[in-house]
């Protein structure tokens, strides 16, 4: 039988380490399964109690069994240990297990390292500016905990330790900054990146009525755009996302394993050049301005339905320089297979919509534009309402919407319109994306939020190719011109964005967004290319890895020198009074004559001896001795004496 072991006394800093671990775990809690957090809290509580009271830690077999069970549970939950979710869960459980066997300061240090790693995982999850102050504070705290474990007198107050940890980190900051700027960025990844299983807001590859209105209540930034020319007018700000071709009677879907030849596009008018910076979405969509014409090769491609797609999912902030033509003629020739896909409807369902389509087709002789106009007229003239909060729809959703409820958001209008067009024999599809955006005059860029998510239709017309038709514009033209907030009726709540934000608040918000944008552009997106750019601006011609290495070496050297100087200052001896300092100077100068004061020799005795040893300096040394004695022991030391002493000492030339 294994006896429970008692805790060794004198384990310093345990409460600090536990608090630091908990603080580092906090940003992960909402992504972790509840049982992981609970286990950690239980372990921490047990350890804490064991420190205060004569409790025992669990015996070894129990610890080993618990650790194994926890590892298996993590594997069972996530099917992997790679990836941020599984990794943090595993770290939290390891910390819990380690807490229960913590006996030596080494164990506590390992726990602090785990806390550091949790902070690191929090950064991997989210590089945003908003959580940064918290993470920095926890870094200071964890460092203070490590210091508590290893150093300082027992009498140090918590504030002292925190302050010292902060000072150490501040001293580390300059070199960290230089390393950040100069460390070569290698193109990753070197190993597979596990799928992020946290759901992020953004456009999916499927649209069911209600999806986009759900998205629209989020005030999160979807992407930011910096234009290199004039801002395109709101009516042309259509940001193209997934194009949905497949309809099952209720949802629209992007076909997964279906490919068509690339479709030709003719560009009309002036191009728009811009830099788009997308927040991470875990999806490969690059929501370019309709229609993208130029994009960086290998970083993106344009699909047959003119959507710009990245080769892998965007798990981090990503930025692209693009050129688009808001006016274009696309896909004049429609391949038969694509026509089949874009006119296909389920065998049955929504009978009233189909009847309407047949009637419109018959009335207008199958002319797509006339049918489309008739539909838009219907939306405009009949009492259709544009609302964020449409009623739930049941079996024949589109029929219900078109003929009964008549209240819907953009996806309802786009879906119903596309359905009717298809039923009338016109190739049509739903395009999802964003529309509009808010210009930030402080940062000089356009902010497009999730609340700008939008859905519209495209119909194919012989001789003119794919035409964009936005049924929402017929119902609520304000949506296109002024944005969502102005388009929905006044008594609807629009969470995430304040409806009538005061000017001051708007300024604060835009400034904060500008800071975020700066952060994204300068820090999060500091790439190899930016690095080269920076070095060129500093005056290096064609910088390469050697320049970086040289820069690193120089930084390290400068850092070491300044740190040594700082430490010399920190460990300096207290300033002595002037007579003592001047005497030290005399001793220094006389050393060249081979004279050093003996251990028990005072200044007067030493000077006496020096006078005998160096007859040439005798008068000066005598003056020094007299002035020294009078300054040190005389009744009133005078400034005149001190000045004279300085003068004579400086004149001393051994």
């Amino acid at each position: 039988m294994v006896r429970p072991e008692r805790i060794s006394p004198g384990l310093r800093g345990l409460p600090w380490v536990v608090a630091g671990l908990a603080a580092a775990l906090a940003p992960h809690v909402r992504f972790l399964p509840a049982w992981v957090t609970l286990l950690f809290v239980a372990a921490a509580a047990w350890r804490w109690a064991a420190d205060r009271r004569p409790w025992s830690l669990p015996p070894k077999w129990l610890r080993v069994a618990a650790t194994l069970a926890a590892t298996l549970a993590v594997l069972g939950t996530f099917r992997t240990l790679n990836g941020i979710e599984a990794g943090t869960a595993f770290l939290a459980l390891m910390a819990a297990a380690k807490l229960l066997e913590t006996r030596a300061s080494r164990d506590l240090s390992v726990l602090v390292f785990i806390a550091y790693f949790m902070l690191y995982a929090a950064l991997l999850r989210d590089q945003g500016l908003s959580q940064l102050p918290y993470l920095l504070a926890v870094t200071v705290f964890a460092t203070a905990a490590l210091m508590r474990v290893h150093a300082g007198s027992t009498g140090d107050s918590g504030r002292d330790v925190l302050q010292r940890a902060a000072v150490l980190l501040l001293q580390a900051l300059p070199l960290a900054l230089l390393m950040f700027l100069l460390f070569p960025r290698l193109p990753g990844p070197f190993w597979g990146i596990a799928a992020g299983d946290s759901a992020r807001t953004g456009l999916g590859d499927e649209m069911t009525p209600g999806d986009i209105s759900d998205l629209s209540v989020s005030g999160d930034v979807a992407f930011r755009v910096r234009f290199f020319g004039p801002l395109p007018p709101p009516a042309l700000r259509y940001w193209r996302g997934p194009v949905l071709h497949e309809f099952d009677g209720r949802s629209w879907r992007r076909p997964r394993a279906q490919s068509f030849p690339e479709q030709p596009v003719e560009y009309v008018g002036e191009p728009v050049d811009y830099q788009i910076t997308l927040e991470p979405t875990d999806r490969p969509w690059i929501t370019a301005l309709d229609v993208p014409a130029e994009w960086p090769a290998r970083q993106a491609y344009r699909s047959y339905d003119f959507q710009l797609v990245a080769p892998r999912r965007l798990t981090d902030v990503s930025s692209y320089r693009l050129r688009s033509y808001p006016r274009y003629v696309a896909g004049k020739a429609l391949p038969q297979t694509l026509r089949a896909t874009d006119t296909r409807l389920p065998a049955e369902g929504n009978p009233r919509s189909r009847a309407l389509a047949r009637e419109l087709a018959a009335r207008h002789g199958g002319d797509p534009l006339a049918i489309s106009d008739a539909m838009l007229d219907m939306f405009r003239e009949q009492p259709f309402v544009y609302t964020l909060d449409p009623p739930k729809l049941a079996e024949n959703a589109m029929d219900e919407f078109l003929f009964d409820t008549r209240r819907g958001f953009c996806e309802h209008y786009a879906a119903a319109f596309t359905l009717v067009m298809r039923a009338a024999g016109v190739p049509a599809r739903v395009v999802t994306g964003y529309q509009g955006g808010e210009f930030n005059p402080i940062g000089g860029y356009l902010i497009v939020r999730q609340s700008d998510a939008h859905a519209w239709s495209e119909i194919w017309v012989e001789g003119r190719g794919w035409l964009r038709v936005d049924p929402t514009a017929a119902v609520a033209p304000e949506r296109i011109e002024l944005g969502l907030i102005r388009a929905v009726s006044g008594d609807e709540a629009v969470p995430g964005r304040l409806r009538d934000a005061s000017d001051a608040w708007l300024q604060v918000e835009l400034t904060w967004d500008t800071l975020n944008d700066f952060w994204n552009e300068r820090v999060v997106r500091f790439t190899a290319a930016r690095q080269v750019e920076m070095l060129e601006q500093l005056g290096f011609e064609s910088p390469d890895w050697r320049t970086l290495g040289l820069g690193m070496a120089a930084s390290l050297a400068a850092f070491f020198v300044s740190l040594s100087l700082y430490l010399a200052w920190r460990y300096r001896e207290p300033a002595r009074d002037w007579p003592a300092r001047l005497h030290a100077e005399v001793v220094r100068r006389l050393r060249k004559r081979g004279l050093t004061p003996a251990a028990a020799e005072g200044p007067t005795a030493f000077l006496e001896r020096a006078m005998q040893a160096c007859p040439d300096l005798e008068s000066d040394l005598a003056t020094i001795r007299r002035l020294y004695v009078s300054l040190r022991y005389g009744p009133v030391p005078t400034d005149a004496d001190l000045r004279r002493l300085k003068h004579v000492v400086n004149r001393l030339r051994p």
Binding site: L146, H150, L169, M179
Partner: protein
Amino acid sequence: MRRTFARLRSAIDARTQAWIRRRQGPDTDPVRLDRRRIYILPTPLGIAFAVMLLGMLLGGMNYGNNLGLALAFLLASLGLVVMHHCHGTLSGLVLRLAATESAFAGSEVVFRLLLENAALAPRPRIELGIGREPTCVVDVPATGSAPAELALPATRRGRVVLGRFVVATRHPLGLFRAWSVLHCDYQAVAWPAPTERDRLPPGVATDTGGAQEHARGDDDFAGLRPFQPGDSLHRVAWKAYARGQGLHTKQYAGTDVVSHIFDWDSLAPLGTEARLAQLCRWVIDAHDHAEAFGLRLPGVSIEPNVGTAHRERCLNALALFEDGHGPA
């Protein structure tokens, strides 16, 4: 495997120590720890820290995550800062031998050291030790000093030399260990271990009080003499002082003062060490009973006396007998 490793490690240790000794030469008391004699290496914990940083670095590059990299850089830089601080904590510290405590062979002699810090910053967590593991940890305050002690087991009588000892620190985060090896050759004396109490001390040589100048008891009042600085205040004749006769010290003659002469030759059949052990026992007992005693060794003769200083003088004479050194 483990044994090979341990042997390899001790071999490396021995080589390093020899190299350090050759490089530094002997030290003279007091020693100032300067840059030249301070060595610094990461601790196992520091190596673990570096491995963690490497992981962060690789992960950050793999995920193209600049902030992950930034944290790794911040912590790496922190490690370098801490390295300098660790070195600075030791650099400039002055060590001085304050006292040595002799002991009987078989127990430990103690070297009392004084750690002096002239600087304006404190030097916390200074570890002292003779071997790899520290035996003493002290915090040295700013512009102050702190005592520390090192104990060395004394296996046999004679001089015990503190050949080398290590001053180290892991301050402030335990990631680095700065250390300095000192060869001051501090010496203490180990007295012979006393034998069992089985042989009675030789007969009392003198038992008349007053015959010996220095042996004074406190039973019989013998008279007054003028007060001298250092006389106990308990023996001042306050009544006489009150009468205006000035300060006088009362003198007593103890008739009960016994005095022994412990003679080497009286223990003729025994060997050298056994004789010394027996003499040691007699000296201790006589001192404990407050009896005066003298010591006769070949070449050494200590007149009878009392007091701790006398006891120590006799014990030292025993400890260093025929040790190649003269009596301390």
